[in-house]
C-alpha cells in the first residue's frame, strides 16, 4: 500500500482524512475535460462543424442514445444528459490517466501532518504517489456511486406513491444496498487492478541487466487496461442512467 498524502490526517483521529492525490487528480481531470471541450468549442458553428466539434457532438449523441436505451422517457434523457455526458468523459479521462502514467516520488523523511508518518512510508516503500487515476481509489468511486444513488432516490421521491410501493418487496431494499456498493467497487476494482499489475510488471527485473523480458507483457496489459478503462467509464455511466431511469416514474414516451 503506497503512502498517499492526506489532509486532516490527525483531526478526530483521522476519521475525515482526505486523500490529496485523489482530489488533486479529480481537479486535474476536470480541467483536462474542460480544456478539451473548450478547444472543441472554438468556432462553434451550427452549419460547418470542425472535426473536434464533430467528435464532441458524436459523444453527446452516444451518451443520449445510451440514456435512451435505459430510461423511460425523452424528458428524463434530456434532464440527465449533461450529467451523464460529464460523467462519461470525466471517468474516461480519469481511468486513462492511470494507464498513461503513474508518478510517485521517493520520500525518505516523514511529514507527519500530511499523513506521511514513518510507519506509513515504511509500509509504502517510501513511495508517495502524486499522479494516479482518481478512480483507483475506493473512497472516490464509492463516493460517485453513492452520489448516483442519492440522485436516483431524490428523483424517485418526486413520485412518492410509486417510490414507496416499490419497497414492498424486501429484495428491493437489499438491492438498494448492493447496487451502489457494486457500482462503485466495480469501477475501483478494475482500475486499481490495472494499475497494480502495471506496477508489478514494471517491477520485473531486467534479464542479464539489459533485456526487458516484462516489456511484451506490459504492452499487452497496457492495451487491456486501456480497453478496460474505456469500458468501465461506459459501464459506470450506463448503470447511472439505469438507476436514475428506474426511479423516474413520469409518463414514459418510448419503448
Amino acid at each position: 500500500m503506497p503512502a498517499f498524502p492526506y489532509l486532516l490526517y490527525n483531526w478526530h483521529g483521522g476519521l475525515f482524512k482526505i486523500n490529496i492525490t485523489t482530489i488533486g487528480m479529480m481537479i486535474l481531470t476536470g480541467l483536462i475535460v474542460l480544456i478539451f471541450l473548450r478547444i472543441a468549442m472554438r468556432r462553434l458553428d451550427m452549419r460547418k462543424p470542425t472535426k473536434m466539434q464533430n467528435l464532441v457532438e458524436w459523444m453527446i449523441d452516444f451518451t443520449a442514445s445510451m440514456a435512451r436505451d435505459t430510461m423511460p422517457s425523452e424528458e428524463v434523457v434530456q434532464w440527465v444528459l449533461p450529467f451523464a455526458f460529464t460523467m462519461l468523459i470525466f471517468l474516461f479521462v480519469s481511468n486513462w490517466l492511470g494507464v498513461i502514467a503513474t508518478v510517485a516520488i521517493h520520500q525518505n523523511t516523514p511529514i507527519p501532518w500530511l499523513g506521511l508518518t514513518a510507519a506509513n512510508l515504511a509500509a509504502g516503500h517510501n513511495e508517495v504517489p502524486l499522479f494516479d487515476s482518481p478512480t483507483a481509489n475506493m473512497s472516490m468511486t464509492l463516493g460517485m456511486a453513492v452520489m448516483v444513488w442519492l440522485l436516483s432516490h431524490a428523483r424517485g421521491l418526486r413520485h412518492p406513491r410509486q417510490y414507496f410501493s416499490h419497497f414492498k418487496n424486501p429484495m428491493a431494499i437489499i438491492e438498494e444496498i448492493t447496487n451502489p456498493l457494486t457500482h462503485g467497487m466495480r469501477l475501483f476494482g478494475n482500475i486499481f487492478a490495472g494499475e497494480a499489475l502495471i506496477s508489478v510488471i514494471l517491477g520485473i527485473p531486467l534479464l542479464f541487466g539489459f533485456i526487458p523480458i516484462g516489456l511484451p507483457l506490459l504492452l499487452i496489459w497496457l492495451l487491456y487496461s486501456g480497453f478496460v478503462s474505456t469500458i468501465q467509464a461506459y459501464v459506470f455511466t450506463i448503470l447511472m442512467t439505469l438507476y436514475v431511469g428506474q426511479k423516474s416514474y413520469g409518463p414514459s414516451s418510448h419503448h
Binding site: K17, I18, R38
Partner: protein, 161 residues
C-alpha cells in the same frame, strides 16, 4: 481503505467539476445542438408548407385550365349552333324568296297571258266581224254588230276557258 474524508470531498469535487463543465463545456454545445434541431425542424416544416402551397397552386391552375377549356368548348358549340341556325335561316329565306319570285313571275305570266288573250280575242272578234262583213258584203247595223262581237267573245271565252 475506505476514507470518509476522501469520500465526501470527492463527491463535492465531482459536483463542482460537473457544475463547471456543464456550465462552460456542455451548455454552449447543447444550445448549439438545440438551435440546429430547431433550425432543421423549421426548415422541414417550411419545405412541407411550400410543397403544400405549390400543390394547391398547381391544382388551382389545373382547375382554371379545365374551366377555360370548358368555356372555350361551350363558346365554340354555341357559335356552331348559331351558325347552323343562321345558315338554316338563310336557306329558308332564300327558298322563300325564290318561291315568292316564282309566284310573282307566274302571276305576271298569267296576267300577261290573260292580257294577250283578251287582246287576241278582241282582235279575233273584230277580225271575224270584219271577215264576216266582207263575206256578207253588207253593212250591219251597229246593234247587230255589237251583238255579234259579244257572241263571238262568248264563244271564244268558252273555247279558251
Amino acid at each position: 481503505m475506505f476514507e470518509l474524508g476522501t469520500f465526501i470531498v470527492s463527491i463535492i469535487t465531482f459536483l463542482i467539476m460537473f457544475w463547471i463543465i456543464a456550465r462552460y463545456g456542455f451548455k454552449p454545445l447543447a444550445v448549439m445542438l438545440e438551435k440546429r434541431r430547431v433550425h432543421v425542424e423549421t426548415q422541414i416544416t417550411e419545405a412541407e408548407q411550400s410543397r403544400q402551397q405549390a400543390e394547391a397552386f398547381l391544382s388551382e391552375q389545373r382547375q382554371l385550365l379545365d374551366e377555360a377549356r370548358h368555356q372555350a368548348k361551350a363558346i365554340l358549340d354555341e357559335a356552331r349552333l348559331q351558325a347552323d341556325q343562321q345558315g338554316r335561316e338563310l336557306v329558308a329565306q332564300a327558298q322563300e324568296e325564290a318561291r315568292r319570285l316564282l309566284e310573282e313571275n307566274r302571276a305576271m305570266i298569267e296576267r300577261e297571258r290573260a292580257d294577250m288573250l283578251s287582246g287576241v280575242m278582241a282582235s279575233v272578234s273584230s277580225l271575224s266581224v270584219e271577215l264576216s262583213e266582207k263575206l256578207l258584203r253588207r253593212h250591219l247595223s251597229h246593234e247587230v254588230h255589237e251583238e255579234m262581237i259579244k257572241e263571238a267573245e262568248k264563244i271564244l271565252g268558252e273555247l279558251v276557258c
